[in-house]
Symmetry: C2
Subunit: 210 residues, 2 copies
DNA sequence: AAATATAATTAACACTGTTAACTTGCAAAA
DNA sequence: TTTTGCAAGTTAACAGTGTTAATTATATTT
């Protein structure tokens, strides 16, 4: 069955060709500039060929969104060496914010755009695996913090949403230009840092009081 | 100069016609279904007529975004009677979340979409007045809390961003379907309420410790 | 070599925002 | 009263978008 194997391999190669082209357009021109026709032009195939390898555009954007999660994981590569869970939490927040501001297009796709979630709806395994994995790491960290009385106890899901919500709030307001209309541009980054610091101080103080 | 006045009035009437039609489409079919052609169809003018009254589509979306802010203000109408600033803060957060979940299209336009901010760039007064006004009310509340030692002291801008960031994070993750892929749908609302409660407890405890 | 299966294409549909050029109707000047 | 000029509104077009049905070309199997 050598030829069936080769065929499968070729199919995967074209698939990769499409994804590479999408990626190139995506990082160079941003999310909304990625179109099926431009992808096809780049790989020198007709636009309809793309539909032989992907169900629709959302399906392609889902794959790009997965790449984004791999990139985020790279940011956190050295994080698990940190013993103090509260310090780890802080670094996690810093990395998250840094990732968002340095890769706004990826962030957009991972946490703002609806397209990847729509692709998920049409899949067999319709659970958001990437998001779940990332959230679990946050939950583990928070659980450890609670165990050691470093943050106030509470429902782990609710607390995780709170912390995630806070950093996501900062990043998404920043990359959607809500801050630069309110404070001067060069003040945004230091202010976000201050914001995170204040939050950490509050968390710490509340735990000590408990 | 009676005729010039009448002309001006007629011009304003067509303008209102366009906005009403946009609004109708917007609340009935959502943001991405609003198109210049559909607006024109609805008011029985040609599509290009719209461009005689608005610079571009962003310009129309900006007006809708303003209506959203007026709607949000309605939610907070009875808020200023509350004396205790910490309780006021909590209710403000609850109202914000409720507004977002009950009016996801408006929320989208006000805090997620880039279109209204792009319209702002091409305006004489390119400050985000609506956002600034809303944020100032939050800042006033926080300043009062700090004064009375009800929350931990810190840079007022940074703290405001933190609090806003948190509630915006929750709402935007919710309306962009990030929660329902992680927890069951009917658990989202109670979890968000729990999330806010935990946050308020943390704020309170941290203040007392100070 | 002929039949079959698969890969890729062309053409089309129904949309989108936006601009240039043209036509109509009405108020003001000759 | 007639002519001029301006503003409102229109048509046609450009350059795109995602997506589907029908068709052609290619490669594999019989």
């Amino acid at each position: 069955m050598g030829i069936a194997e080769r065929k499968e391999k070729q199919k995967q190669e074209v698939r990769k060709l499409i994804l590479d082209a999408s990626m190139k357009l995506f990082v160079e021109e941003g999310f909304e500039k990625v179109s099926i026709r431009k992808i096809a032009d780049l790989i020198e195939y007709s636009p309809t060929t793309v539909y032989l390898y992907f169900k629709d555009k959302n399906d392609i954007l889902f794959e790009l969104h997965e790449m984004g999660f791999r990139k985020l994981a790279e940011y956190n590569a050295t994080l698990w060496e940190i013993r103090n869970p509260l310090l780890r939490l802080q670094k996690m927040g810093e990395n998250y914010i840094r990732f968002g501001l340095e890769n706004p297009q990826f962030y957009d796709l991972m946490f703002i755009q609806q397209a990847p979630m729509k692709a998920l709806d049409n899949m067999i395994e319709c659970q958001w695996k990437s998001g779940d994995e990332a959230l679990n790491k946050l939950k583990d960290c928070l659980a450890e913090c609670m165990e050691k009385n470093l943050i106030m106890k509470g429902d782990i899901n609710a607390v995780a949403m709170t912390i995630w919500g806070m950093v996501h709030g900062l990043v998404s307001l920043a990359i959607r230009d809500r801050f630069e209309k309110l404070v001067s541009r060069d003040q945004i980054m230091p202010m976000m840092q201050q914001s995170l610091n204040w939050m950490m101080n509050v968390l710490e103080a509340a735990a000590e009081k408990q």
